[in-house]
């Protein structure tokens, strides 16, 4: 067949729609989709901000009410607040950057790639953030004269968290790689 024939075959469907829409089911499904509007990026960012703010406030509160407040816990609370602030600033910068991309397929892919890069960076930073938090927590336990076994348990929890966060980080890296492949396909001539 020549291309003109393929074109004719393609055009033959214009007068007969391929599907019939069930309007009621469509309406219901759209309504439920709208409610699920929060994207995974939004959820991750908001969770990071809320968790760090809550944890920082809790540690600060407990330490203030305690007559013999520990320096390591003040530092830990401050670290938590700084992390929450960093997450908030990153989120604002990401949202502001949304309008930099045009609405072409290339622009859309670039945007998706910038979000993926952002998530890879954020997950990496949060992964390494476990280290100072862990050290400060252990330091506060040592200051408070807690048992060796208690400190050992906390250490195991932090090490476990560090490894689990690598798994999350790798998921984001995988998604970014897929988008890079797509972008390359689009840009490659031929």
């Amino acid at each position: 067949m020549e291309f003109d024939e393929l074109q004719q075959i393609w055009d033959s469907q214009n007068n007969q729609p391929l599907y019939v829409i069930n309007e009621k089911a469509l309406h219901n499904r759209i309504q439920s989709k709208m409610k699920q509007g929060l994207h995974i990026t939004n959820i991750s960012e908001l969770l990071l901000i809320i968790i760090h703010l809550s944890a920082g406030s809790f540690i600060l509160g407990v330490n203030l009410f305690n007559h013999r407040g520990k320096i390591s816990l003040y530092v830990l609370a401050a670290w938590m607040f700084v992390t929450a602030l960093y997450s908030l600033v990153s989120r604002i910068r990401r949202i502001k950057g949304t309008h930099r991309f045009d609405r072409s397929m290339h622009g859309d892919l670039n945007y998706a790639l910038s979000v993926a890069t952002y998530l890879v960076r954020l997950s990496q930073i949060m992964r390494w953030n476990i280290l100072p938090v862990g050290v400060l927590t252990l330091l506060s336990l040592w200051e408070g004269g807690k048992s060796f076994w208690g400190a050992g348990f906390i250490l195991v929890v932090f090490v476990f968290g560090f490894y689990v966060s690598r798994w999350e980080h790798n998921i984001y890296k995988g998604r970014k790689r897929e988008l890079e492949v797509l972008q390359k396909k689009l840009e490659t001539k031929g």
Binding site: Q13, Y19, N22, L26, R175
Partner: protein, 169 residues
């Protein structure tokens, strides 16, 4: 823009241009459940895009942009359903039109589906009669790049058609 106005525009666009969305759905998804899934994903994205539509391009071009971008991202999600999945409690949005479909059209869709996600978009835009300039704007690449891709896709489809046995002819 109120939600009601947005919904009215969506209904109007859907009434006039649902055919183009159907074509994209069929080119990017195989199982009927996936047709449903992709279709609603596209509709939701189109709905979200309505306030940003500035009439700098035609509605058709705009819908192609949104729908193709959504379809490409949808294929990355790897959420596709298998044909054997139990769907008893699922209310389908799309129902296949009970009209005899040209066997050659089914073959053409099959061949388009075999192309990678990007080439599939180019093939759809080509068959829909978009100019190189319009395609370049939708895809965000140069016209010369569009030209190179089209030449290759055309050759590929023509070559495949040589081996296609339609009623033994």
């Amino acid at each position: 823009m109120t939600e009601k106005e947005q919904l009215n525009i969506l209904e109007e666009w859907l009434g006039l241009h649902k055919g183009l969305i159907f074509k994209i759905v069929r080119a990017y998804a195989v199982a009927m459940m996936d047709h449903d899934d992709l279709f609603q994903e596209i509709i939701v994205q189109v709905w979200h895009s309505i306030p940003a539509f500035r009439q700098e391009s035609s509605v058709t071009t705009w819908l192609y942009r949104i729908s193709l971008n959504t379809a490409i991202k949808w294929t990355q999600k790897e959420r596709k359903h298998s044909q054997s999945e139990t769907l008893d409690n699922v209310q389908h949005i799309l129902q296949e039109n009970k009209i005899p479909v040209d066997e050659r059209l089914a073959w053409l869709y099959q061949e388009i589906y075999k192309l990678d996600e990007i080439d599939r978009s180019v093939a759809l835009l080509l068959l829909e009669g978009f100019s190189y300039k319009e395609m370049a704007a939708i895809l965000g690449i140069t016209e010369s790049n569009v030209g190179v891709k089209i030449n290759r896709i055309k050759k590929q489809l023509i070559a495949k058609s040589k081996n296609y046995d339609y009623h033994g002819i």
